[in-house]
């Protein structure tokens, strides 16, 4: 179970990333953020976002057009 869940369904680039950034601020260190999105571009974007910010993309999956991402917040 993730510490926080962000529903970014229906939002288009770059809103899922921007909202995830904001939501991550509320997540404790080593905590997790779950993001649900419908933007297919989010798959590549969340991978790039995590590589750049140093947070860990623990898993991502797709089910019936809903993309789910689980990001673990790396302590700074």
């Amino acid at each position: 179970m993730a510490d926080h869940t962000l529903d970014a369904k229906g939002l288009n680039c770059p809103l899922p990333i921007l909202k995830a950034r904001k939501a991550l601020k509320e997540v404790p260190d080593d905590g997790t953020l779950e993001i649900l999105a419908t933007d297919p571009g989010a798959v590549a974007d969340f991978q790039a976002f995590c590589r750049q910010t140093g947070n860990e993309l623990v898993e991502h999956s797709e089910d019936d057009g809903i993309y789910r991402f689980l990001i673990k917040k790396t302590p700074k």
Partner: protein, 162 residues
């Protein structure tokens, strides 16, 4: 901030609804990814700092502009793009599409840029040239000129001109 911190600057020179998107999308996203970002607003980009925005697309001079309509992509013959009311009509269509597809408005992106502490510099020369008043611009912006931008650019890893 990531260990290998990069920074970005963008020169914003265009103020139509469609051209306002790339700089604000890239600035907010870069800021979200931990990059310090500076935007320099000059010429027709400067009015993007006005408190009240009423952005329009311009069909004339935008010959590749096509909109999805009735299952097709329709463009306007060049001659028609000069007809009064065409730009207003196209702008309404574009804004409807933006809402329908879950794309952020420019106002929303600009607010997020301010929140993410993106530095925004208004070009002093453009303020003078087009007779804009800093009082009509959003709070928290800086005023500067070419040298101010060059100093920023010389310290940035990514410099874009849009």
């Amino acid at each position: 901030m990531s260990a290998e911190e990069k920074s970005m600057s963008i020169i914003v020179t265009k103020g139509s609804l469609d051209w306002a998107y790339p700089p604000f999308i890239l600035a907010t996203t870069a800021a979200a990814m931990g990059l310090p970002v500076t935007m320099f607003f000059t010429f027709y980009g400067l009015p993007l700092l006005l408190k009240k925005l009423n952005l329009q697309v311009t069909a004339a001079g935008n010959p590749a502009m096509k909109m999805p309509m009735m299952g097709m992509h329709m463009g306007l013959p060049n001659l028609l793009t000069a007809v009064p009311g065409i730009d207003a009509g196209c702008s309404i269509m574009m804004k409807n599409l933006i809402k329908k597809k879950g794309v952020a408005s420019i106002e929303e992106l600009r607010e997020m840029a301010v929140e993410a502490e993106v530095r925004m510099i208004a070009c002093q020369m453009t303020l003078d040239l087009f007779e804009y008043d800093k009082a009509d611009m959003i709070e928290g912006i800086d005023i500067g000129g070419a040298a101010t931008y060059i100093e920023v650019a010389s310290q940035s890893d990514i410099n874009l001109f849009i």
